[in-house]
């Protein structure tokens, strides 16, 4: 007679290793006093152009660095390096998202304590990055006006898991008949109370407001107590 199989209770997170490492990274960032902002969006929504402008604007007043993930090429790192800050490319090969291990390896040799901000640009993808914690303090989801107002409804998980939203390419909103009120309603339907910014990397619209918000979030985090 064979024994009946029985159920062994496990209750273990599938991405436990990533979560543990992300937690360790977050502790390291806190000890070093560096505020970490990650960017997620679909390919082509303007993450790199946005970040390029932000790095240039901040470059004079804060110590910053950036990591940028792509499936292939270091084109984005080359673009971002023009802002004059340290940039490292993470080439993921076939992997469609960044994970905590990739971030940890990319940071090797950098003195985090000498930084005020670290930006992490994820691989362009609105699905896979949502499952992986990178140890960041702030996760920003971007969508461009050319993508359609219903993007948040199509990808609720990534919008729900982000902390703030940025609508990019706002300078061409009229040309593509972008409906701001509908987009805002859709973002807030999947993430009530989320702060949303309208920006254009080309005209510079909204970038100062976004930066001010990130700076105040960092200050609030560093405040003792």
């Amino acid at each position: 007679m064979t024994a009946q199989p029985r159920i062994v209770e496990v209750r273990q997170k599938v991405l436990r290793r990533n979560d543990v490492l992300a937690g360790e990274l977050r502790d390291r960032f806190r000890e070093a006093g560096v505020y970490v902002v990650s960017l997620v969006s679909s390919p082509g929504s303007g993450k790199t152009a946005f970040l390029e402008k932000i790095l240039t604007m901040m470059g004079r007043q804060a110590r910053i660095a950036a990591l940028v993930g792509d499936l292939a090429t270091d084109n984005d790192a080359v673009r971002l390096a023009r802002a004059g800050v340290p940039v490292r490319q993470i080439v993921t090969g076939t992997v469609c998202h960044l994970d905590a291990v990739m971030v940890q390896s990319a940071l090797e040799g950098w003195k985090l304590a000498e930084l005020d901000y670290l930006f992490i640009e994820n691989v362009g993808n609105l699905v896979c990055p949502s499952s992986y914690d990178l140890g960041e303090n702030l996760r920003v989801v971007l969508m461009s006006v050319t993508e359609g107002e219903d993007k948040p409804l199509k990808y609720p998980t990534i919008f729900n898991g982000a902390d703030i939203a940025v609508v990019t390419k706002i300078d061409i909103a009229a040309a593509v008949e972008f409906d701001w009120n509908a987009a805002r309603a859709n973002i807030q339907a999947v993430r009530p109370e989320m702060e949303i910014f309208r920006v254009s990397a080309r005209s510079g619209e909204g970038l100062t407001e976004w930066l001010a918000s990130v700076e105040s979030r960092r200050a609030a985090k560093n405040r003792p107590g």
Partner: protein
Amino acid sequence: MHELSIALSILEGAAEEVERQGGGRVYAIHLKLGSLSGVAKDALIFSYKLASEGTPFEESRLVIDEVPVVVFCPECRAERRLSSIQQFCCAVCGTPTPDVVRGRELEIAGLEMDV
């Protein structure tokens, strides 16, 4: 599509548990999968078959228990299931709420095995 990476992580976690149990054949892995986990059920089952091929888990099944999103309604002061993942508000009174109580699970609940 990151379900293959997820499937590999599931097998890794299950193999560790089998070792802790001192070995034994696994018939099924029970997984809790939240609607907000970012993982698609069908793609995961497909990837699991691929990933388990040629491993001790080849004959095992992946049994998925889907976990719906539950939010806390500040108005009703109660946990409520979302009626749609596109609308984060209380299904009873309609108050919007970002407060997710359940639905992000991606967790090995248990193994069906000989021990």
